[in-house]
Symmetry: C2
Subunit: 132 residues, 2 copies
């Protein structure tokens, strides 16, 4: 199984739960955005097994730390994650409360001219809020 390797190589034990979560997250061409609750629903539907909510949180955070998931900075009561970890930005449709990917080509290069001593830029994220 492909995910066993991937997990082991990241120093994460390939448990049944982690492999199932991998399948839900990564067995698809399209990347997608999700909240923890949405992910829990997907897992239930796809695998017909119940993974503890705590495990879902743990796993998502572990995957984020390893760079397999990204948090999307947005003001919402729930945290949004993205399976698309490439450098890219987002539209946020305020009415639908839906995120839409913006490819880097849709935005053009961004040049942050100011530097802060002793600090490195880790990420640059644009959120474009949309209204109707």
């Amino acid at each position: 199984m492909k995910y066993r390797e991937k997990l082991r190589n990241s120093g994460l034990r390939p448990t049944k739960q982690r492999i199932q979560i991998c399948e839900v997250l990564f067995d698809t061409d399209k990347t997608f955005h999700f909240t923890i609750n949405e992910l829990e629903q997907k897992i239930k539907k796809k695998t017909n097994t119940k993974i503890s909510l705590a495990t879902v949180y743990n796993t998502v955070h572990a995957f984020e730390k390893k760079g397999y998931l990204k948090q999307i900075p947005i003001n919402s009561n729930q945290t949004y994650f993205d399976t698309n970890v490439s450098d890219h930005h987002h539209f946020y449709d305020l009415k639908e409360e839906k995120l839409i990917d913006l490819e880097n080509a849709d935005v053009g290069p961004i040049n942050i001219k100011r530097k802060i001593d002793g600090k490195k830029i880790k990420s640059v994220e644009i959120l474009v809020r949309l209204e109707s």
Copy 2:
């Protein structure tokens, strides 16, 4: 008092609490970022009176709706607000958990090339995460 007018003109009754909160937020040259809890502390210090937490929430949301405050999109367990409502961006220092203003000139023009039918761009915000 200047804030009485401002409030009345926005359709908000100029109550003692709202005026005090205005003083804490706007009686300063520098704009600043805050969470609700930080604001509550500031109010206590500056006015020596206690305003109910619920009122602080209500007022901040009312002011946001009127455009006197902006929410800053960031992943944190607390919501950050900004008294600087002009178009600008932010550094977020991950270690210090501190926001730093980025002037528009520090970033250069941003051109969102993609359009979504029937939607207008309401805001474009960049978050630059900093690590040490």
